[in-house]
Symmetry: C2
């Protein structure tokens, strides 16, 4: 990778590395062998989550905990991160093995999203938590601007219900199939069945309500439904 | 709540608040009405994850990304957090509605774990990210000491296999039931069937391998199997 490309990338992401080797590592896919970006991705993922959560807590006081969870999921999911990766033209800069290259891995959304998280980890290691936080919030500036606090997001069960109704399908069926554990430490296992789509998932939660919401969210994920915010 | 109890609690958790109101909010269950600890819990959860991930990245260089995920899950899960809550005797200090009190909510593991996360959020708001990081790492000191880098943890499929073998049960059956999405953005839906336990779960992932591991993890969670570290 030549220096001009790396300079452009750093200018696009809005951070210039002291140690460019960290950026190169963040761009290195596991198909390259022993040194790759997966540990950096793990680190970056948790920093991204902290950064977004902190912003939501401090600047979106009208959102309750459930709302914040849903907004955060919509900002840090693979699709949104891959979009960032495409804006930064990361695909052209990925370092990967010939097999992965040939099969078009540099276009795969999950690989782009992973590299974006790894870059976050790399910026953090090259600077500090406050600096990387500023970089992340700048990337997501427009996403945060679009969050409408008054039009509070709907929970997964409501979203699933509305989605099915819009397609003239029957409502999902929720059923508690198992209650696990003792009185003060119970887990509820719920089955959610959407007959018209032949979908059938299970989810657990510490209350019946939470398990039902989790099962509805799974269905939405399977349908690759854009969670509204 | 009298001041002596709050002083003891602050001494137990190893942090003294400038604004004790934040600690009181962290101890307030949603059954009390409009002002409760769920937003703080959301914030604290992400800080805890960052703190543990950062420590694992920097001090446990032999653990790969999968190992770090599993160790982190074992440290930040409800059970481990509830244990901390019990050590701090949080149960006696929870502020909750009469119905929840009567039904023994102050003993419920999930409520204790949530309050611990909320306390993390409260410490952060009362200080800064570096201070709360030190407090968290001090709480988890013994957990980190117990992590054996050489005896690298086993992945969920391996753990499930060994668990079933130890009970003389048949091995689980994995089957790809659906491949969703286009070529460069596929999701694999896998079914994991454990006949001898009448357990049958579905999980999705961006690769067949990831979906299988996720389905094995679900089975382990349903069995409330202590994930090894």
């Amino acid at each position: 990778m030549d220096d001009i490309i790396l300079k452009k990338l750093q200018s696009d992401i809005g951070y210039h590395f002291n140690e460019v080797g960290l950026l190169k590592l963040a761009l290195t896919h596991r198909s390259m062998g022993s040194q790759h970006n997966e540990r950096l991705e793990f680190l970056g993922d948790s920093i991204l989550s902290y950064s977004v959560s902190n912003k939501l807590y401090k600047n979106f006081s009208q959102l309750d905990e459930g709302d914040m969870s849903r907004v955060r999921a919509s900002l840090v999911n693979g699709k949104n991160l891959a979009k960032l990766g495409k804006n930064f033209e990361i695909g052209n800069n990925l370092i990967m093995g010939p097999g992965e290259l040939k099969s078009g891995g540099y276009k795969r959304e999950s690989i782009l999203a992973d590299a974006v998280e790894a870059i976050i980890g790399a910026i953090y290691l090259d600077s500090d938590i406050l600096t990387v936080n500023d970089v992340i919030l700048n990337w997501l500036k427009h996403d945060f601007e679009k969050i409408d606090q008054n039009n509070v997001m709907k929970d997964p069960k409501t979203q699933l219900q509305e989605l099915l109704q819009s397609k003239k399908m029957k409502l999902p069926n929720y059923e508690v199939v198992e209650i696990i554990g003792k009185a003060h430490n119970q887990k509820f296992k719920v089955r959610c069945l959407v007959k018209d789509l032949s979908l059938d998932v299970f989810a657990t939660g510490t209350s019946r309500r939470k398990a039902e919401q989790a099962s509805a969210l799974k269905i939405l994920e399977i349908l690759q439904y854009d969670i509204k915010n």
